[in-house]
């Protein structure tokens, strides 16, 4: 009786269950669609916003539907430099997703390894690492990211460091919690009795078994990394103007909001909200399915 309860579900079962929730499926479709749009932005976008020669200041701040000097319709209007907003959003999504995923992946790897190693080693090392994490978590993530980004300066690489730095602690926490439970299980003892090395036990036994909660955290953290990046770029400490992310587009249109030229800020904002929300909904559903405690 107990055996069937702890039986890990097959991947097939996971998707079958996932597909029973229309909202989650819709959100997943949005995430996939946005990702595809971002990947194929150069093919889809009517204009290359990096190509300065293609920009005409005459077309700046035109409303949606305006037919520009290049002969094509700017369906979402243009921004203060005369860039086609739809193209800029597509390229912005590309950068935002890139930043979010990269920062999430780096934070995930560092956090998972540090967390499960701390749980395995125990004693003072564990206490030190976990208190450090607690200390860091007591500061708002935006503040930490802001300080680090400001210290390192602008640039993609610097931004990833800043985002990772403000996010890895969540992964350490989660990995540590899951790994502490795994460390007491018989199979870890069985591996140690062979004896297998600590490194092997952590990377091959403990880590794979702590993945489900980490995946949940990862989805939520990617979403928050994207919005964090947008915030930093909006504040001007994120990416350089040569890498126009969604945050920078929003900030670029901010000053025109009250003068009626709403589209410059609103459309990138909507894109950002849709992306972050869709990722969060998918993450919620994944958590519901992977966390046995939420099961009825």
């Amino acid at each position: 009786m107990t055996e069937s309860a702890i039986k890990p579900r097959s991947p097939g079962g996971f998707w079958t269950e996932f597909c029973q929730h229309p909202v989650a499926v819709a959100a997943a479709c949005v995430v996939i669609a946005v990702t595809l749009l971002a990947i194929f932005a150069p093919l889809i976008a009517p204009q290359n916003p990096y190509d300065l020669a293609g920009l005409a200041l005459r077309d700046a701040r035109r409303p949606p539907g305006f037919v520009g000097i290049g002969g094509y319709t700017h369906i979402l209007g243009t921004d203060s430099q005369g860039r086609d907003l739809f193209s800029a959003i597509l390229y912005g999504l590309r950068i935002s997703l890139q930043m979010g995923l990269l920062a999430g992946a780096v934070a995930f790897s560092i956090g998972a390894l540090v967390g499960s190693a701390a749980a395995y080693i125990g004693g003072r090392v564990e206490a030190f690492v976990m208190r450090l994490v607690d200390l860091q978590l007591s500061f708002p993530a935006i503040l930490l990211a802001f300080v680090v980004a400001a210290l390192l300066g602008q640039g993609k690489f610097q931004l990833i460091i800043a985002l990772t730095f403000s996010q890895y602690a969540y992964f350490v926490r989660t990995a540590h919690g899951a790994a502490s439970a795994e460390c007491n299980k018989d199979y870890v003892e069985a591996a140690l009795s062979i004896p297998m090395s600590g490194w092997f036990v952590v990377t091959r036994h403990i880590l794979p078994n702590t993945l489900p909660p980490l995946i949940v955290v990862a989805t939520v953290q990617v979403a928050s990394a994207i919005s964090l990046e947008a915030t930093l770029s909006f504040l001007g400490v994120g990416l350089p103007p040569t890498e126009p992310s969604l945050g920078m587009l929003i900030s670029g249109g901010f000053q025109y909001l009250l003068s009626g030229r709403y589209w410059i800020s609103i459309y990138p904002g909507i894109a950002l909200i849709v992306l972050v929300m869709a990722i969060n909904i998918v993450g919620d559903q994944v958590r519901e399915q992977l966390n046995p405690r939420l099961k009825k």
């Binding site: 199979y187 140690l192 078994n209």
Partner: protein, 569 residues
Amino acid sequence: MTDPVLKVTDLYTHFETQTGTVKAVDGISFHLNRGEVLGLVGESGSGKSITGFSIIGLIDRPGQIKGGSIKLEGRELVGLAEDGLRHIRGREISMVFQDPMMTLNPVLTVFEQMAMALRAHENVSNTEARARCIQALRQVRIIDPQQKIDFYPHQFSGGMRQRVAIAIALLHRPKVIIADEPTTALDVSVQAEILVEVKSLVAELGISLIWISHDLATVASISNRIAVMRYGKIVETGPAAEVLGAPAHPYTQMLLNALPSRSRPGQLLATQESHKPGGESKTAGWIEQKSPNFVSVKHVVKKFERATGLWSRIGVKLNLMQPPKAVLAVNDVSFTIAQGEALGLVGESGSGKSTLGRIVCGIYHPTQGEIKLDGASVVSACQRGRKLTTKVQMIFQDPFASLDPRRTIGQSIAEGPIAHKLTTRANARDYVARWLEAVSLDRAMADRYPHQFSGGQRQRIAIARALAMRPDVIVCDEPVASLDVSIQAQILNLLLTLRSEFGLTLLFISHDLGVVRHLCDRIAVMYRGQIVEVGSAESIFEAPKQPYTKMLVDAIPKLISKRPALQDA
């Protein structure tokens, strides 16, 4: 004896699952006479618990009673609405479950829980409820019930908790009590006490009892009649002495023959594959005992200290706090095992036998003392000692927990030999196949995950993993405790043959003296962290020197016991 109290005819309880209908109870009929104890025996999955749940009307979805009738004194229970069932439950039929820790509410005192059960069917004042609960506790031989009634469940031992559960079941003087494996979670000595008490209670109160168990021996010692279940059907039913003395059905015969206590020590047990006991194994004296001190354990002490934080240390220094109590799990234990010998380590739960096993295997570092294998230390000397040898391997109690659920069994078996250069990554498949075949599993199974196997198969895999390290010594920590009798017999046979085939030295830890006697040459008895007696298997059983050993040996339920005047109750 007139009409039976309970009459079950053609009962079908089915579970509709995604993969098809599971016929948990598949057309069973039996009856229960007044004052009678009916033993319901079967292996896991035979439907014996579901039968109990069906009678008391606690079948959850997707389970459903598909047909048949359950008559309590002529009243039909099948098809009764939830309301009607609630009137009967607890008052006319009550149930005692396997684990009292799970069934008692940890945040309520015993009195609060008993009063709740009492008020479910009766309106009673507080003082009256109290008096009746104390009376009920006294009935199940709880000493000092006036005080104990205000205790919380965690303040009781396992046996006492089960007594409380029985007391609650008895509160309304039900006509029928269904006891589902009530002593399985208890130590053998506690089990013996409870069996005696339940027996006398049944005689005293004239209750009818259905005793559900997987253990033929406990059922034999308490029941008037026995029904043997398999695959949801009753294969044999009859008076206890008849069923056990002259079983008619081959399955009952197989169950009986699979019991280690029924065959000569060292002999292969009868299993499903071979109904006749197999040939004499070569264990007895197959190896000239090369080194009498092959494994030597000297003055081993293991203290478990709770980790102390900075604040509690300051607190202790300032005399504001008590220093945390260290648990002395193993207290100055010394013994030796000769090469090729099997030493049984028996003791009740909490005696430190598992801790000692883990120390011998090098998983725990002893606080003091040393363990040597063939003259070499098992763990290095430093505080966080590392295990130095691969020559001691371990088999755990729960084979499912001891296999990594996310690795195929092939990976699990191969990881140790690859890391210790017993094989190469390229040859690993063949190496694994060899050991799978050694434990009679198919080599094609190497790519499956642990949850795809049955309990017995998983234990074979765990044995294969231990063997693949080419050990000299295997520490077996209750390797058959979680298995059915017939599977247990297969695993014991496997251990017997492997032992002679590979010349293994065994440290066999178990609470089951029957199993230990069957497999081991010598037995060490542990009690509260110390070894109280060591001797050859015969001497421990025939002439135990220590009173504790004697008590343990006496507490083993005997298969055919003379029943006192119970039949006339």
